[in-house]
Assembly symmetry: C2
DNA sequence: ATACTTTCCGTTACCGTACACGGAATTCAA
DNA sequence: TTGAATTCCGTGTACGGTAACGGAAAGTAT
């Protein structure tokens, strides 16, 4: 095995009768080479099957590359905290190969903070950027800027309808609504379902939950068209109000045993649900936040659908690093991650 | 960021008034250094926080490292085929950093073939080995040999009660039986369950299914002690016999709607089950073999519990590579992988 | 033909580490 | 004290590639 002696830049220099300087110039096509020499070198590269020695290259180039991660600030116990945790994991494995990671955070409810932070990020002159698209327009102008500067970028979580990105890692949203419905109903007819929703402000943010809800409703429509579907809106910043809203609802609808929420905030409903147990109840939510997993353990939540946000950023970073260091393109652009079904019996090793 | 100029071997040479040769000697402690010099160098390394440049080191060392993977031969559509597929994935990412992978296969029912192949493997002088322990005694003597030669090794799938391995990647077996029971019953009382088992030959192989069965039975005992549990044995090499066995069983037990199998062969039961549908039936099996996933899609199997064998070997290889190249130890030895719950609604992106 | 550009290309000095080699310093025996 | 054996250490080169520098060859204008 590994019979073929590694052939070097010098080999093709000798083969073509040129010097390694010239060979290097065509390899990085930085001009100053005649067409004839260029062709000869290319041919020799082809025939000898030359592959550059990464180590030598990196050593000679010197310095460190930088990858920037631009995601919403992670308040404690939020979805983005999970994503942020993937940064450290990735950092550990790429720093040893000369890549540093900088983490930029912005307020996901403040478009100005996004602008500012994006600007700072650009100043750092990264060789790659990991992005979670929140504000449509701003994301677009940022990616344009990146393209101009020749900086590759990856999307995580969700992605806009553009095309210039290097790769995308996320969950198939519509399908996740389907899966969610199946887990909630257990494949059996269900008379009624309560959807708990969060009141959004008018920012035109990308909202993953609309696709999920669409998938969910389609599943219900197709399988249990008779099922009544109620909606209750809550305010994430007013726990008492949430409690009141749920209380009011369940007083008038004691017959509803199926509860679902399409964002990562099912934990907001847990205090009420736990205080008012219902043996027939089934609750499904999304994302493996600490609070959600605790609710899974204590039985308040039946199933959680997870998407490994940490893996998403980890993969995005790896992909960017490989591209920045080795120039290696990922096998495909879009990576739809597996949707993990979490129950109290398999949370522990998650 | 990244302010500190990278300090090199020369820096500590200057700092100590010694030469880089001496510094190098203490770094690789290959002797021929006086105690005094040794101490001085160590101190300087400490103070300056010297970290070797991996690229330069690898470049200077030259040559390729080799990682061997030693797992049972993968007949088409078998569990080990899944594992083998992880090899290519890993290979792609490590060859670029100068690591080659050799794949050794043996007949998992023939201990002699294991001996032979293990011998061949050693001859290849790998810098790391990925092992799936099948034959207890043989595994032990192999690992001893590896330890003597200073070759690190990782276990996947299952692991013996030894301690010299670098890392282990596998599923928590006992727990997976628990999870399996919960998915089978759906958390509701069930009057009776059929376990389909494969008759084993007398080889003292490590058998993951015994732990799974134990977990399963404990769950049933704890939750539904009244449940009757039947066993039917089949022969993987005689499909007609399997069909006959199931047919006989279900003729006398038409009331049994819950079927489970603890190894990856649930697909063996699929022909019968599919030919004799039962709307109330629930079937749970293990591992994402192509045939199993197809059964999931067509509704014959309700749930599959997956453990990503490809990821297991991939991670094992990565770990070994990092250790062999960078000398980096994994953060912990035992990696219990998440148990994936697969249904027809989330198979596609698996 | 001369001077002046361009276009090409070879030379050379690194990058940071590994390791062989040979020599200086020290120790030991006689 | 001298020679040999040890112990310790510095020098030099290789590893494969990058990129600045400067000069030769070819082309252009006068």
């Amino acid at each position: 095995m590994a019979a073929t002696e590694k052939i070097t830049i010098m080999d093709i220099a000798r083969r073509t009768g040129l010097s390694k300087g010239t060979v290097d110039r065509v390899l990085h096509n930085r001009g100053e080479v005649s067409k004839k020499s260029y062709a000869k070198v290319m041919e020799a590269i082809q025939e000898l099957g030359y592959e550059p020695n990464v180590f030598a290259s990196l050593l000679a180039k010197g310095g460190k590359r930088l990858i920037a991660v631009l995601i919403p600030a992670h308040e404690n116990g939020s979805f983005w905290e999970l994503a942020a945790s993937g940064i450290d994991k990735a950092a550990a494995s790429v720093t040893t190969v000369g890549v540093d990671i900088v983490h930029f955070e912005y307020d996901q409810y403040d478009i100005d903070s996004f602008r500012k932070v994006a600007g700072k990020m650009l100043e750092a002159r990264p060789s790659g950027v990991v992005l979670a698209p929140m504000f449509q327009g701003e994301t677009e102008s940022l990616t344009e800027e990146l393209t101009q500067r020749g900086i590759p970028y990856c999307f995580i979580d969700s992605k806009p309808d553009t095309n210039g990105y290097l790769a995308y890692f996320g969950m198939p949203l519509y399908k996740s609504g389907y899966l969610c419905a199946d887990q909630l109903t257990g494949g059996r007819d269900v008379p009624s379902v309560l959807i708990i929703r969060v009141r959004r402000d008018r920012f035109s943010q990308s909202d993953p939950t609309v696709n999920r809800r669409a998938g969910f409703l389609d599943y219900m429509m197709e399988n249990y068209p008779e099922c009544r579907i109620d909606n209750v809106f809550i305010d994430p910043n007013a726990p008492e109000e949430t409690e009141a809203a749920l209380s009011t609802y369940f007083q008038t609808h004691p017959d509803v045993h199926h509860v679902v929420m399409f964002n990562s905030r099912i934990h907001l409903a847990v205090p009420y649900l736990q205080a008012h147990p219902d043996p027939q109840r089934r609750v499904v939510g999304f994302d493996n936040l600490k609070a959600n997993m605790d609710a899974l353990r204590n039985g308040t939540v039946s199933v959680l659908i997870g998407q490994r946000p940490d893996e998403q950023v980890n993969l995005a970073i790896q992909t960017l690093a490989e591209y920045a260091i080795l120039g290696k393109l990922p096998p495909r652009k879009d990576h739809f991650m597996h949707m993990d079904i979490l129950t109290s019996y398999n949370v522990e090793d998650y």
